[in-house]
């Protein structure tokens, strides 16, 4: 059953009032294409809007399809850079990076069916057509694979208790979904980037090829549910303290406190 025009309009209006960073137009489009979500469960309007606001901005944030046209756009950009009319992107700018926390890593393993646990289970069920063969802990590999055999997991040395504090702020670009091998590390990636100021500690870290790859978050930072790092700044105009992410801080003049 299609949504009424009035409902969609009011949804669009309400979604525009959602906080910045939340999906709006695409979310509404999704609602339009799947009207049963709203209609069959007869959720009140406010509830529908609340659901939009609660969408996980890290996983379902505003993604757009690349499309075949994207190839042409990309080729034009490459051409412009090749002719010196444009500059390559600052890939090492911290605004382009997202922090994956353990719960997201585990969620990703489930979503992408790491180890083909789900696929193998379904395949088995198609032949037996019975759940008797489904043993307890059928999906345990999702969790244990996060800790065993994962380069991001390390056994605790249990020598220095401060290691725990350090590890809590430790962020690496290596591992599944990131850089696969140290051969992929570029000199630019190892360098300190200006955008890291206030967000990433420039003095802590290993003295190896992982310098700049294996870093520590600065003290006082927070990890946002959008995957961005936030740091507290004082707005000199208003005198108020505000949390800013690297994109917001990049457009501002930042001074050290007296």
């Amino acid at each position: 059953m299609p949504l009424s025009a009035d409902f969609v309009k009011s949804l669009v209006k309400a979604s525009r009032q959602l906080p910045v960073g939340q999906p709006t137009a695409d979310a509404v489009r999704a609602m339009e294409t799947a009207p049963s979500v709203v209609k069959t469960e007869a959720k009140p309007f406010r509830e529908a809007v609340r659901q939009l606001a609660e969408r996980d901005s890290f996983d379902d944030d505003d993604y757009v399809p690349f499309g075949v046209d994207g190839l042409l756009h990309a080729s034009e950009r490459v051409l412009a850079i090749n002719r010196g009319l444009d500059e390559p992107d600052e890939r090492d700018h911290i605004r382009y990076e997202r922090v994956m926390e353990p719960h997201r890593m585990l969620g990703e393993r489930i979503r992408l069916d790491a180890g083909k646990v789900r696929k193998n289970l379904i395949r088995r069920l198609t032949t037996t057509r019975s759940l008797k063969d489904v043993s307890p802990f059928a999906f345990d590999d999702y969790a244990s694979g996060l800790l065993i055999g994962n380069p991001l997991a390390q056994p605790l040395e249990e020598i220095n208790p401060f290691q725990l504090i350090e590890q809590a702020r430790s962020v690496t670009k290596m591992g599944p979904g990131g850089l696969g091998t140290t051969d992929a590390i570029t000199a630019d990636a190892q360098n300190v980037h200006a955008s890291q100021f206030g967000f990433v500690s420039t003095v802590e870290g290993p003295e190896s090829e992982l310098a700049g790859i294996d870093v520590r978050l600065s003290y006082g930072t927070r990890i946002g549910s959008d995957g961005l790092i936030y740091q507290k700044f004082k707005d000199r105009r208003t005198g108020k303290m505000v949390w800013l992410n690297p994109t917001q801080a990049a457009d501002k003049v930042v001074a050290l406190p007296d």
């Binding site: 399809p65 051409l79 412009a80 382009y96 719960h103 802990f137 345990d140 244990s144 504090i165 290596m174």
Partner: protein, 520 residues
């Protein structure tokens, strides 16, 4: 805005302290349930599996004793997640079997931020990943490429590169180096479209290397194996490739910066329109009617402040001055362009000129006002050329002349009127000649009041003829500050020696005139 730790936090974003393990533990539990729910129902070969009634069997928190026991007994300290599995017939939707079981053990995060598995204690690092998007980079060998990282579950990553020596565009995907032109051509792109995008020379080079085998390779590399149908027709294969690219998701906020055309086609002009800047003015249909020399009066009025600005805005929007553009605007660019300079900004400025001709020229034809005519003249366009009717042309020419005279008269009156600088000059003069004791650093309002008071109180002593001369000299002195370029300028008739009250509120940025105090 909500307050977190005494600072305003963005709405809708939860901030977690990296050492706040309690919140992280809750997130692990909640996210696991969410993802398991999201992953089902799953179906294959006629059966469908559903999961429902997910709940945890164990408590949310464990004591230190529990942790110790787990370590000593080589256990996995976790929280068991239960759920009801339902096996259904996919065709009929009828349940075949239902079973409630423990699905998985979700790792328990200790208060120290560790996990206990097999009696060992583990820490898990956070991971920083490049957000899915398209990023342009220059490789060590100098080759420029656009690296596209797509969302993990949406497709395969690929790169678009240009071989500088051969001029061939390549699409690199899964170890294959494909000829981009051949693929785009087989996907239905028109040669004219590609020529417009790449330019004639580069297009011809790429077209000459067309390879029909690329299409098959692209199909095998870009389309997931499960969706590859060997019996598919060429058109079906093309559709599958298009679909693969459509399903490849990139983050909007990244491509808004790196590939804006993907989100907003109008913005793509920023990149590729520049590419044709080498085209001559004739090719671009850039044919101004005036040379910069013929527009000297416009330059003098707009940049020198000498003469009325007949149509220009008081202040130009900042958006008209992107980085790298001439800081004084279109006229400065035109002077440089006319002198032979070529820059990446040329096409933007020419586009602006053409837009001006098209929109304002069109409006002028319909409603020829003198102000519009001078606006066109500011862009080196002869407004009278746009008019066909000789009668209208003559009338507009007359109106333009009258408009110009009126504006010049207004400008001269404005120049002659008192400004903050004049008050300062006058105060300095009165201090010097009559020991008035006025403070020239005061604001013009206060200074005007003080001058009036002084004149009123000293009415008997003031030589009004000398005072009148002083006013005239003070104005000329201040005026020379307003018009920095040397001009042959005769000061207009000095106003009455009394300061007009209605001008007292006029406050203008004034230069410091102490060193240039008028000599009388």
């Amino acid at each position: 805005m909500s307050l977190i730790d005494g600072a305003e936090a963005p709405d809708g974003i939860e901030l977690r302290d990296p050492e706040d393990f309690t919140t992280l533990r809750k997130n692990i539990y909640a996210n696991t349930v969410k993802e398991i729910e999201r992953s089902f129902p799953a179906s294959a070969n006629g059966v469908r599996v559903k999961v429902s009634d997910l709940s945890f069997k164990d408590p949310e928190d464990y004591s230190l004793e529990d942790e110790l026991k787990a370590k000593l007994s080589d256990r996995f300290l976790s929280r068991r997640l239960e759920g009801t599995l339902t096996l259904e017939d996919e065709q009929t939707g009828q349940p075949i079997e239902t079973k409630r079981t423990t699905l998985m053990r979700v790792p328990y995060l200790t208060r120290r931020g560790t996990y206990i598995h097999g009696g060992n204690e583990y820490t898990l690092k956070l991971q920083s990943r490049l957000t899915p998007g398209a990023y342009a980079r220059r490789r060590d060998n100098g080759e420029v490429e656009m690296q596209t990282i797509v969302r993990a579950d949406s497709g395969v990553p690929f790169r678009v590169a240009l071989e500088p020596e051969s001029g061939q565009f390549r699409l690199r995907v899964r170890g294959s180096d494909l000829h981009l032109y051949s693929l785009l051509k087989d996907l239905g792109y028109d040669d004219k479209q590609l020529e417009a995008a790449w330019g004639k020379e580069l297009f011809q080079k790429n077209a000459a290397k067309y390879d029909s085998r690329v299409f098959g390779k692209a199909f095998s590399k870009l389309v997931f194996k499960g969706r590859q149908n060997p019996q598919a027709t060429r058109e079906q294969q093309a559709e599958a490739i298009r679909e693969a690219f459509s399903q490849a998701l990139v983050h909007r906020k990244v491509v808004e910066r790196t590939l804006p055309g993907l989100v907003n086609p109008a913005k793509q002009a920023r990149f590729w329109v520049r590419r044709v800047m080498e085209k001559s003015a004739e090719e671009l249909e850039f044919k101004p009617d005036y040379t910069p020399d013929q527009l000297r009066d416009v330059y003098a009025a707009i940049y020198g402040g000498y003469g009325p600005q007949l149509a220009s805005m008081k202040e130009w929007p900042k958006s008209w001055f992107p980085p790298g553009s001439d800081e004084l605007g279109w006229l400065q660019w035109y002077e440089n362009y006319h002198a032979g300079r070529r820059s990446p900004d040329d096409l933007r400025q020419i586009s602006r000129w053409k837009r001006m001709l098209r929109t304002h020229g069109g409006m002028f034809k319909r409603n020829p006002t003198p102000r519009r005519a001078f606006a066109l003249r500011n862009w080196a366009i002869d407004p009278l050329k746009l008019l066909e009717d000789p009668v209208v042309k003559e009338r507009v020419a007359g109106e333009m002349l009258a408009y110009k005279d009126a504006e010049e008269h207004k400008w001269q009156l404005k120049q002659a009127a008192f400004r903050a600088a004049d008050y300062k000059s006058l105060a300095l003069f009165l201090n010097k000649e009559l020991n008035a004791g006025l403070d020239p650093e005061q604001s013009s309002d206060i200074l005007a009041d003080q001058i009036l008071q002084f004149i009123g109180a000293s009415a008997q002593e003031i030589d009004y003829q000398r005072f009148s001369q002083a006013v005239s000299v003070a104005q000329s002195s201040a005026m020379s500050q307003r018009n920095p370029q040397p001009v042959d300028f005769e000061p207009p008739e000095p106003p009455k020696p009394l300061i007009p009250l209605e001008k007292l509120s006029a406050v203008v940025e004034s230069p410091t005139l102490e060193e240039d105090a008028p000599e009388c």
